[in-house]
């Protein structure tokens, strides 16, 4: 294949399930958990892989790491075939499962790291340098000597991140890394990942259903539903495609005059407060500048805020829309968007 770190073509995984039908009959049914996924991830990318429960996120990740054997399609990670070359691949990838520990339950956290050094055969100096860096980034010092079973979930997750990175993997897979964490720990994990991503030498693939993770971290978003990729692009492109609009909230010193300004094309007035001092406009693929200029020409503006569309809302709409075929245009959201690029200015005041 090519120099992409991860490349899949028509990747699929079928599971046979027995359906209970009557007392003795349990006919088999084949369910496609992953149904033809094409994915290409370049070196240093931070990819958010999202989808509702059961969409096939974890299954994809498990095929990329050599845990599951694909039922069909091609897959290459770091130029290797994950299942046949599992142990070679394991040296090049790090994996964090939010709900499954990789650490030694009864040993102090620090000893897990030492064991991992031997398992991955990392030279002592290299190991020490990496551990020092991770220890300060993730603030592990307070609980290095605590047995893993006594760690809080947040502490453990920081330990898991360290464990996954100690051998210097070129790809880091994270399956729900923030699941169950409190706000502070979530924040710690996110800012760590952001920093790691910013260095650009580690490719990161993150599955989550906490969309805040994605909004904070990744530019590229792959949405999977019913085993198929329904969106692959930036968050902005997702909004554009599914017709989510930015809103501009304007506070005025005095109500708009009756003759009011002519709104620029692509702007509609969504609502106005009863006193007419607060107006909410919907921006259909246009920047806020033009609207602000016209309003300012008519009345005195007190305050202007541009609200980004809520990604939760978009994704929820995406999921309930049912299985959509990729590349088949946008679903029936009834919007009239022609471009998927968005102007850079995201907020103004």
């Amino acid at each position: 294949m090519s120099d992409a770190v991860i490349e899949t073509r028509g990747l699929r995984k079928d599971f046979t399930v027995r359906v209970k039908a009557g007392r003795f009959r349990r006919p088999r049914r084949v369910v496609a958990a992953v149904d033809g996924v094409d994915l290409r991830v370049e070196r240093g990318e931070l990819l958010g892989y999202i989808g509702p429960n059961g969409a096939g996120k974890s299954t994809t990740l498990k095929m990329l790491t050599g845990i599951l054997t694909p039922s069909g399609g091609q897959v290459r990670v770091c130029g290797l075939a994950p299942v046949p070359q599992r142990t070679r691949l394991a040296r090049q990838v790090g994996v964090v499962f939010g709900q499954r520990s990789q650490l030694w339950w009864d040993l102090p956290l620090g000893e897990s790291f030492t064991l991992l050094r031997h398992i991955y055969r990392v030279p002592a100096a290299e190991h020490a340098a990496r551990l020092r860096r991770l220890r300060s980034m993730l603030e592990l010092d307070a609980f290095q000597d605590t047995p893993v079973r006594q760690l809080s979930l947040g502490q453990r997750m920081r330990g898991e991140l360290t464990a996954a990175l100690l051998h210097g993997p070129s790809v880091l897979f994270l399956d729900e890394p923030t699941i169950g964490l409190d706000v502070v720990s979530k924040q710690a994990v996110r800012s760590f990942l952001a920093e790691l991503g910013a260095r650009g030498d580690t490719t990161i693939v993150l599955t989550t259903h906490d969309l805040a993770d994605i909004e904070r971290l990744s530019r590229r978003l792959v949405v999977i539903d019913h085993g198929r990729v329904v969106h692959d692009g930036t968050i902005e492109a997702l909004h554009a495609r599914y017709g989510s609009r930015r809103r501009m909230v304007v506070d005025l010193d005095a109500p708009l005059p009756d003759a009011g300004p002519v709104l620029p094309a692509g702007v509609t007035l969504e609502s106005a407060s009863s006193d007419g001092l607060r107006l909410v406009f919907t921006l259909h693929e246009v920047g806020a500048g033009e609207l602000i200029a016209r309003l300012a020409g008519a009345v005195a503006l007190r305050d202007v805020a541009v609200r980004e569309p809520d990604i939760e809302e978009v994704v929820a709409r995406l999921y309930t829309a049912g299985p959509a075929s990729p590349d088949q245009g946008r679903p029936d959201q009834g919007c009239s968007i022609t471009s998927t690029t968005q102007e850079p200015g995201s907020s103004a005041s």
């Binding site: 429960n53 059961g54 974890s58 790491t65 599951l68 990838v93 499962f97 709900q99 009864d106 047995p147």
Partner: protein
């Protein structure tokens, strides 16, 4: 290769340290395993209080068979017996964490909990074997001495293959645990007796098709210098290592197919 070995060694050491966290249970386990083999032995002895011969064999001769099969089983049980945890790893999806490490799946699982307490069992089994060989007044030749050492090892490989092969069933059915125990522990109990005591069809399946006859019975005949009452030629007593190799190859095939079939769990 040497590096890999060191990695496993460290894994084992980490495991030993984890186990040290539960010292009390280690002692109770040690006692219960030791008691176990004493009872196994008593069963055979009690049987011979009721009859002078069993399937054409005297007590001493039967104890040679018991010693061979028990030491083979104890060695296998100590080193890979743990694989019966596989069902738990598969059911809970814990195997995921094993699969993302750059080491073999089987050694990782086996080393995840080496029950050193089971070594006590191997010790007792070897003692029984030595005592029985002593009593049996064997005409020692270099070849027979080699066979004495080789047989428990080949038997251990054979039982190890049974352990691994039958544990692999967990990849196909959850709760295959009981089925695998029928083969492992069941196999151990049945190999403790001369296969002449079994009915013809059962013997054909168990001793020959599945190969259990080569763990204790046939090597014992070769050691004792007895002709097979069932009429097989004398060289059969030397075939155990070959049988063990075939069993290991079969187990490896089933194991690999199983790992590829692993479904993990939703998370």
């Amino acid at each position: 290769m040497a590096d890999q070995f060191r990695a496993y060694l460290h894994l084992l050491r980490g495991q030993a340290r984890s186990q040290a966290a539960y010292r009390a249970s280690f002692t109770t386990d040690l006692l219960s395993t030791a008691t176990g083999i004493v009872f196994d032995l008593l069963t055979v002895v009690v049987l011979f209080r009721a009859t002078r011969e069993l399937g054409g064999f005297s007590l001493t001769e039967a104890l040679v068979i018991v010693g061979l099969s028990a030491s083979a089983f104890a060695l296998a049980d100590t080193s890979v017996g743990n694989i019966d945890l596989l069902g738990f790893y598969v059911r809970t999806g814990l195997l995921d964490a094993v699969l993302v490490r750059p080491l073999g799946v089987l050694p990782q699982l086996v080393l995840s909990n080496v029950p050193l307490r089971k070594l006590s069992r191997a010790g007792i089994a070897v003692a029984v074997l030595v005592a029985a060989l002593w009593q049996a007044e064997i005409e020692w030749t270099p070849a027979r001495a080699a066979l004495t050492v080789l047989t428990p090892l080949a038997g251990a490989v054979f039982f190890g293959s049974i352990f691994v092969g039958s544990a692999s069933l967990n990849f196909w059915w959850t709760d295959a645990g009981e089925v695998s125990k029928a083969f492992t522990y069941g196999g151990r109990d049945l190999t403790a007796y001369p296969i002449t005591v079994y009915g013809a069809w059962f013997r054909a399946v168990f001793a020959f098709a599945l190969g259990f006859g080569f763990v204790g019975y046939y090597p014992a005949l070769a050691l004792l210098g007895r002709a097979d009452p069932l009429g097989l030629p004398p060289w059969v007593g030397w075939a155990s290592p070959a049988v063990a190799v075939v069993a290991a190859a079969a187990a490896a095939t089933v194991w690999r197919a199983g790992v590829r079939r692993y479904r993990s769990t939703g998370s």
